[in-house]
Amino acid sequence: DTAVSQTPKYLVTQMGNDKSIKCEQNLGHDTMYWYKQDSKKFLKIMFSYNNKELIINETVPNRFSPKSPDKAHLNLHINSLELGDSAVYFCASSQSRGNQPQHFGDGTRLSIL
């Protein structure tokens, strides 16, 4: 059974469009994250939610809006996509007590034409 699943795996779209990425975890974790990995493999935290509450909100354009309907789901909506948004977006989850290991989804490869 997949622990952290993201959809879609690939997203190819044009500049200016709006798109969403969904993430679900079945590990019973209470914290979920979104990361962006650029073409140089640099992995950077964007957001985290703990029990549906926004905890980490890094310096991310407000075109990016996360939403957590419950602690098992964390979605990412991106408005007015730009060329620089092309990257792999990873969802992850963990328990909140201490610095617990984070479990990553397979990633969503977003390409902007």
Binding site: T31, A92, S96, N99, D106
Partner: protein, 110 residues
């Protein structure tokens, strides 16, 4: 600041050779985690180090945390082709925020 630097950026070895990647911080680390990302894959947790001078082993992998808790290393003995991938260290902090290092890409030639 809180950035974590890793060296080398890239290493190419012959199968059977050893490999080491180093993770350095200018500030004290409360803990450090290591992840492996296979080509086209996602980061997978390997280990967490918490104590000063800690050494942990997983089969051919040896992880070390510096005495001053400002650096860490991952050493692989007798590399195999299955070791190929990017190895990341990540510093832990408040609110479970992980700051990932720049990563070391390991290529293993059979």
């Amino acid at each position: 600041g809180q950035q974590v630097m890793q060296i080398p950026q890239y290493q190419h070895v012959q199968e059977g050779e050893d490999f080491t990647t180093y993770c350095n911080s200018s500030t004290t680390l409360s803990n450090i985690q290591w992840y492996k990302q296979r080509p086209g894959g996602h980061p997978v947790f390997l280990i967490q180090l918490v104590k000063s001078g800690e050494v942990k082993k997983q089969k051919r992998l040896t992880f070390q945390f510096g005495e001053a808790k400002k650096n860490s290393s991952l050493h692989i003995t007798a590399t195999q082709t299955t070791d190929v991938g990017t190895y990341f260290c990540a510093r832990g902090g408040a609110t479970n925020k992980l700051i990932f290092g720049t990563g070391t890409l390991l290529a293993v030639q059979p």
